[in-house]
Symmetry: C2
Subunit: 744 residues, 2 copies
């Protein structure tokens, strides 16, 4: 089996089903967030029970609310209904909190009643074992080809603050705001609501996504992308689920609304823990990272960073550039913030001469005269305000961070008060850090209320600014790499797919999955990737003829459709200078292979010119990820690939822009561009080779693994010196091969 | 000039002075922290003034307090004295807050009155320009060869909480505790005191170190190392000052008391900002990092980590190993903590079978059955307590983290209350994270009061545990690298220093600073570092003779005492197979050098065997850091050194243990130990080569730069193939060369 995808995986089912009725159902998600009528199925008066908490929390809902309970006539004095069919109005949203075993039946009733949205709070499904999986199947079966969409099961519920909808069993209702928050951990969701109340961060939507039986990340992102009340989307993710759906939605929404993800399970130990508690599949984190980059998601690593981004996005605009001005009453914290700022890839703004002149007018003579703008320990509130006013006006600054440390003359409250004027600057975020535990507290409250994000520490604030900038950066328009600076890319004709199909068929006929080096290079050639001239010789005389026609010195390599690691069996002879050496090499290779593997594995040799070019050895490869399908790898090649791990991953297909961005992530990229007096390789040609390679991988879905190692890149030429292609076995069906996750 | 040390630098003066009366003065530091009598010079009633704040803050001091003021008879009703001479008792500690210009005079009076400790709060010295530097000189002059030691100038002051001494102008007094806190930023100090009051962290000493005119890090660390009330030392550092004194003190104290440093100015931009506000020198941050590692300092990067360590060290023991157990009522936060734990180099504890059995007895059937121990969303306080009790007993756990998220059945207060029992477990730290903003608050207060560190986020807690473990790890006893697993190190005789001196003298005689490759290799040989056989030939016939005696193939390289980059001038010819090729190579090199540089630069060739061994190219080098003196560099060599930067820095001298630790920090280390079927190189021999090289660098202080690149390390042999040594110019005096910072 080429993939680890579980055939019983609901995600796979969902993806398959979505293909049956594509795009017809997304519009109904409005019923989750802006319903007019809500039924709570399993509403109860039982103290401490979820059914009671739900019913109580929905008490503030502005629309009509109907408790449904099989045994009771009233719930807290409100008429209760035996089932959804008996509810006297059309129900937009059903919230279900009954035992798992009853849920498939209730879902059928919802379908019958024309309900479009159901939230299944109940646990006891996939995560509980085979019986739970069976219940999930029944739910999917019941909703198939119906308009009913399901969030959950095993979740905390949904909040729509703008309509006062708290369809969760968490007591605290989120504030109204413009951040949509999606979480795969209900408990973390509760903690975040709690935190947001303190920090005055408001939400447009809150979704505890649960097991993603039906509705997954992609559905929600697409819906929220069109929701006018949502300005940004924050996601706590444990597994990506339906990867192509997620990527497609992000690709659509990220250019207009920031999407920030904290994805746990980066390490194997954590991934294992996550799998055990959600029953969810997890793929390689490195691949996920590449996918996030491709789609324009900003990934953060710690809860602190996640909260920082939530604060920033809720309250301030994205900066237009990387340059931050820092106003501080103490040098140390300014330096601390500078370290973090630079390490996170942003910069200190350089003060314009006029800014310095203006600051000279409002500050005492000993101020720092550069950024960080140290306005000195005795700074009072008006001095702070004056300095911020000047700093903010500088066209060379893309944001302002104000740091306050408690000193003798410091007035944290009055300073906070005066800063409120600068809470909303066009395209220039304002950040603050009022340091200290108790004395700065009131000042912090004032800033929070005024919509100015407050950070406990100045380095946190600097990181938040840098993260905001990275988001802006990821949305900058694509530039064709250095137009005109290089030779035009070589013309390559359309690949001859029929010949590739023939080659693969030939391998199948011999019941193999491994292409020989000769065949692999032919495939590359058909896709316009330059390979070193490689001639097949099945007799020693043919080999000599080939060598003479190529010109000495040459290389002889074992030709075999069973042995992949030619070097290990003595199957490679370099620097062969004449016919007698060809003969000797042939004999040596044949003898070595027969001794180690027996007759039949030696099927002749390939003859190749001995390439003497000085250049860099690269690796270009692809393998399959169970979630994201084919993944590309580019990096420094040769035998020490695994030691230095100078490589970057990307998703096919690539265009020249994406190819260049992929290469830029490696260290060897600098060498390719020319170091220590070496010339640059033809970068436009290399871009094209990556583009063609990615096309090969995207189109020839029977390829399980492919490597070009080394791809020799010299200023004179770029050449694949060796290649290896492995096909899926004949037992693998086309539909089992993970789909291509990205599109151009 | 080989160094950037400023001759007027007070640090240099201090270091010089300390050498004049070594070790005689440190004992007097007790007067700073435990004085019986304190005089405040510049005490005043002026509102908002530092002199008033100091006097008021010292009001709680348990000993005798004398205000000194040139103009007033009383300060707040207490008799004031005109000067220190008129104070009717012997003064232990003088706190000076008068204008900078008056300080040298006052210091003289202090010396005359036999005062042993003075804190100069006043600013307006080094940081204010040449006049300030002159004032600093006058102070140093006045205290020379006297028992008076000075903290400051330009600082916040000193607190000794155990004697209620607040000799600072910061209003809040630190709580009593066992952490000593030293800061180079007064403002940050105030913020930290403020924070510590909220977090219930207590201090044994608080020092705002100011400009370090006299007392520097080394003095304070050594004193606090012997102070029984201090259990750990936390440092906020902007510049290291007297580097050898700092390292020597740390080396002494770190094995018994943890020393944690946050050093700002990691990036160039921040270093520049720091330099402009403190006037302090800063060296390479990479070198500083190596020095911290060598001395056993734990360096943290963010204020949050710094505070986390302060909390942990103040409240909990160091863990004995890297294995953490996590008890949680929600999966997600447990996964989040696991990611950080593993990424920071610690591990999840593996639960013993008995632990699982015991947990089965106290937990509901669906608990996670592995670590993180997910005790499920409905966990009440007794379930938490029971799980923690079992987890803590497991001998495979070195610490326990308890995570609480606010869910329906959660009782943050009762749970905190029950955990107090486990606040002090022998050798097993307990950490907690009560998530959420407002609802968990009371629980947090209870835990803080009970001495159980509380973290806002579970990933922060995991990082704090990992940092604590790294501290333990740095103190584990040294192991000789893999005894018995390798061949014994080759015997090397003592270096013949006289011959090295002769070689250097020869270079001096020709008024050069560059050793030829031939000479450089001789120096290496004299220190027992194996070099490839290298023969000097000044005629073409000599070259042929040398080649025949060495055996073909050989390498010819330009011999010149003026040209360093031989390859760039066509001065290297490889793979020479016979006498005629020698002749051709000679002619070609001679012609190329004469064409590019003129006659005189060609002084013959060296003849060396063409080494065909397959192995790794390493680089071994050293250059001078202005603060730490010679610094060693080990890493992957060859032409791409600067691209891959696979290297580690260390301080000489090395022993085999330190040599191995240095190499382990690189990726190429894995290759040396053998990968992909390659054999290991002789690691013990390589250890020895590093040891000898470090000795060469430590002993031959006239070396300004030295590189062996490549040092070829193959399983068969280790050989220096090329070497380059540059000497200091004749204008550099021995005392200008930065001292060796480390000792073995």
């Amino acid at each position: 089996m080429p993939t680890t995808r579980d055939e019983t995986s609901p995600a796979a089912d969902t993806a398959a089903r979505r293909q049956n009725n594509p795009g017809t159902r997304d519009s109904s998600l409005g019923s989750f967030f802006k319903p007019k009528t809500v039924a709570v199925i399993g509403a109860s008066e039982k103290p401490g029970g979820v059914g009671r908490a739900l019913f109580e929390n929905l008490g503030t809902f502005r629309g009509a609310l109907y408790p449904v309970n099989g045994q009771r006539d009233t719930i807290f004095g409100k008429k209760a209904y035996r089932n959804i069919a008996s509810v006297p109005a059309h129900v937009d949203l059903a919230v279900i909190a009954t035992p798992a075993g009853t849920v498939p039946g209730i879902i059928k009733e919802c379908v019958a009643a024309g309900v479009k949205a159901a939230i299944v709070i109940s646990a006891g499904f996939k995560e509980a074992g085979p019986d739970g999986i069976e219940l999930e199947h029944q739910i999917l079966e019941a909703t198939k080809n119906t308009p009913l969409r399901v969030i959950g099961p095993n979740c905390l519920g949904v909040m729509g603050p703008h309509v006062n909808l708290n369809a969760t069993f968490s007591k605290d209702m989120a504030r109204t705001g413009n951040v949509a928050f999606l979480t795969q951990s209900g408990a973390l969701g509760t903690a975040i609501i709690d935190w947001s109340l303190k920090e005055k961060v408001g939400f447009s939507a809150f979704v505890s996504i649960g097991s993603m039986l039906d509705i997954g990340w992609g559905d929600l992102i697409r819906y929220l992308g069109e929701d006018p009340q949502t300005h940004s989307i924050m996601i706590y993710m444990e597994s990506v689920g339906d990867a192509p759906a997620f990527l497609a939605a992000v690709r659509e929404v990220a250019p207009v609304k920031p999407i920030v993800v904290i994805k746990v399970g980066r390490t194997d130990a954590a991934a294992k823990a996550a799998a055990s508690h959600t029953g969810a599949l997890t793929g390689s984190d490195e691949v996920l990272d590449a996918a996030f980059k491709r789609a324009g998601v900003l990934r953060v690593q710690t809860i602190e960073e996640f909260f920082s981004m939530a604060k920033m996005l809720a309250k301030q605009p994205l900066p237009r550039g990387p340059r931050l001005s820092i106003v501080t009453n103490a040098g140390g914290p300014g330096v601390l913030a500078t370290d973090m700022l630079v390490e996170c890839g942003a910069q200190l703004a350089v003060l314009a001469p006029e800014t310095i002149t203006e600051l000279n007018k409002v500050l005492p003579p000993h101020w720092s005269h550069s950024n960080p703008i140290d306005i000195l320990g005795d700074a009072d509130a008006p001095r702070y305000a004056a300095a911020v006013a000047v700093a903010a006006k500088d066209p060379g600054a893309d944001g302002v961070l104000v740091i306050l440390t408690p000193q003798a003359m410091t007035d944290p409250i009055a300073t906070a008060d005066l800063l409120r004027t600068y809470a909303h600057m066009e395209g220039k975020p304002l950040l603050t850090s009022w340091m200290g535990g108790t004395r700065a507290k009131t000042g912090r409250v004032i800033l929070n209320e005024a919509g100015i994000p407050m950070f406990d520490y100045p380095d946190e604030a600097a990181r938040a600014f840098a993260n905001m900038w990275h988001y802006t950066e990821s949305r900058l328009p694509r530039q064709v790499p250095e137009p005109g600076s290089e030779k035009p890319a070589p013309f390559v004709a359309e690949p001859d797919e029929a010949r590739v199909t023939d080659l693969i068929a030939a391998v199948r006929r011999r019941k193999g999955t491994l292409l020989t080096e000769y065949e692999s290079k032919q495939v590359l050639s058909l896709y316009g990737i330059p390979t070193v001239e490689t001639r097949l010789a099945t007799t020693v005389d043919d080999a000599i003829k080939a060598a003479e026609s190529i010109n000495f010195p040459v290389v002889l390599k074992l030709h075999s459709d069973t042995i992949t690691h030619k070097t290990d069996v003595g199957g490679v002879k370099l620097n062969i200078r004449d016919a007698s050496e060809v003969r000797a090499a042939w004999t040596a290779i044949e003898a070595a292979v027969k001794a180690k593997h027996g007759t039949g594995h030696f099927q002749g040799v390939t003859v190749q010119p001995m390439v003497m070019l000085k250049g860099s050895e690269l690796i270009l490869g692809s393998s399959l990820d169970p979630q994201f399908g084919p993944v590309l790898l580019f990096g420094a090649g040769g035998v020490l690939v695994e030691v230095f791990k100078d490589r970057a991953l990307g998703l096919p297909p690539l265009d020249p822009y994406l190819a260049r961005r992929l290469m830029e992530q490696t260290k060897i990229f600098k060498v390719l561009k020319g170091v220590r007096g070496r010339s640059s390789v033809d970068m436009a040609a290399l871009d094209q080779i990556l583009v063609r390679f990615s096309r090969l991988v995207a189109e020839q879905r029977w390829i399980k693994e492919i490597d070009i190692n080394p791809l020799l890149a010299s200023p004179e030429r770029i050449l694949a010196l060796d290649a290896r292609i492995v096909l899926h076995g004949p037992e693998v069906k086309a539909e089992d091969i993970p789909a291509l996750a990205a599109t151009l």
